[in-house]
């Protein structure tokens, strides 16, 4: 087993909600976890920072400004293992929703749109700047999956990160399919690993963990249109919220 690894969290373009998830295990589990990892930088929970080598770097947020590249490269240089942490870091997440538009700045910032510090490029996953070893998908991450990724790394085991759709998890828990009740769902192309809580609660999967590696996007549009009755144009754009950079029409 890996000796108490030094773990650090870094954030780029994001809401830092995935970092907050890491503090949501409850006291007992969190304090137990701290016996096995040495958290050396984690700005949501501590003020210390480090310039030293790190064993596991969790990088949260998308890469959306060229100016962030040196910082990402520095983390990569210092870290043995880099984990893209959360949907923004893995794929650009909701930040990437702007990628196919040109006028977002005017809409979002209005009179301040021209201010230089608001300038940004296309939002992409951090693997577009540095090599990433593992991906903790999700908006937010599934904190229990993260716990297992850490655990598997501690034990020298390859982390288990599903590449099958959410349908598998819905079926396993015998959730009534959203399509059977006249609803839509993106579960057929969405990456599982969340345990499919949304359809079980009666709401469609929005693919917040992005697509599986080989999503059948054409079939999704057909089924959204044919079975869920979505107008074709709506069906075509439907999956964009969390998958803008994974879609066939990624900007």
């Amino acid at each position: 087993m890996m000796a108490k690894p030094k773990v650090a969290f870094f954030d780029f373009t994001c809401c830092e909600g995935c970092q907050i998830e890491f503090t949501n295990y409850g006291d007992a589990a969190f304090l137990e976890l701290l016996k096995h990892v040495d958290v050396v930088e984690f700005r949501e929970a501590m003020s210390e920072k480090t310039k030293d080598p790190i064993d596991i770097a969790f990088i949260e947020g998308s890469f959306s400004r060229e100016a962030d590249r040196p910082r990402l490269e520095d983390i990569r240089k210092r870290a043995k293992i880099v984990i893209a942490y959360g949907q923004c870091a893995t794929t650009g997440g909701v930040n990437a929703l702007k990628n196919h538009t040109k006028d977002y700045k005017q809409f979002v910032y209005q009179k301040d749109a021209a201010m230089p510090h608001l300038d940004s490029q296309k939002a992409v996953g951090v693997d577009q700047a540095i090599k990433v070893d593992y991906y903790a998908w999700g908006c937010p991450v599934n904190k229990y999956e993260v716990l297992q990724i850490v655990s598997h790394l501690l034990h020298g085991k390859e982390p288990v990160i599903p590449n099958y759709p959410v349908c598998v998890e819905c079926k396993r828990r015998e959730t009534i399919c959203r399509y059977d009740v006249g609803d839509y769902c993106l579960g057929q192309t969405a990456r599982a690993g969340c345990g499919a809580p949304c359809p079980a609660d009666g709401i469609p999967c929005e693919a917040c963990r992005g697509f599986v590696d080989q999503p059948n996007q054409d079939a999704l549009v057909k089924v959204l249109s044919k079975r869920a009755g979505m107008p074709w144009g709506w069906a075509e754009g439907k999956s964009r919220m969390f998958t803008a950079n994974q879609r066939g029409d990624a900007a």
Partner: protein
Amino acid sequence: MSSHFIKESDFAAFLAGLIKEKKVVGPVAKTSRQQEKFVFAQLERGEDLRLDYDVTILPPKKEFFPTQQDLVRFDGPRREGCVTPEEKVLFGVHFYDVKALDMTDLLFQERNDDRNYTARREAATVVISNIQKVSPRAFWSSIGAEIQPQGHDAWLSRIAGGYVLEPRTPKGAALLRFGKFATATPAQIAAARQANDAVAAQCPERLQGTSESNARKVRAAFGQEELWTKLAEDCFSCGSCNTVCPTCYCFDVQDWWNVDQKSGARTRYWDSCLTEDFAKISLGAGATENFRESRGERFRHRFMRKAAYLNEKLGGPACVGCGRCSAACTADIADPTAVINNIPEA
């Protein structure tokens, strides 16, 4: 064994007595937006039992081969097997699901006795119920019709005024003491037979050909790559067809540690050959290969397994016509009748 009759008005007391003394699992309703579906679940009250169900989301296989099952639990160097036989009555299983259990019974015993399955299976009493409502995608009357269900302990049939219970084993006969059963009259026995026979004509879908001719033509179509690519065009590789299948038995095994990093479990999960990574294997030194990389290959593999590959071992196709796959496939391309009927004779 002789047949027994219980009056409708005595049935609730029978169920209540059974539930009081034993763990009873049966079909119960689950609803979403007023849509009613059914699942096998432990009965808290007899009123929850829905013998008028059409089909359950998952087959009763899950009672013996759970979707997720610990095989070994460990704590440091201590290890403990997890063979957990639990006496239960599986009440109200349709005959096609018992035919599927016959298949998994064989598959989990051949060569290696899988005690995690067989111990649970042996501890169960299985009661068939006649089909009162046929599911919209069922085709059980036209597939493997020559094969009779074996692994059950009693067969319950609803007739006018009550139910006929036909025990098939001593375990099944042991259920009689829970209710006010009388010896069934020849007319009641005939009515029970009629109830089971009449429903066969109601199957909405039909598989043409015989088990042999279908096995032959599906096998012969193996090399028609364009055919399978076309059939799988809308396949999501979502594994729904596998996951709801009563005869699928593949699983994956993973180790998990608890947060203390000392204790944990080796767990098996249902796996699915339609999903992309199922056939992804290690070549060593970090390299991998996927020996069924395309959707068409995976789609074809399912039909080979269901219609041809296992037939010699099982005595017929590895499909019982429950129609769960057809209903679960949102693209509606998984229906065995639609696919197999359209493959030309070899």
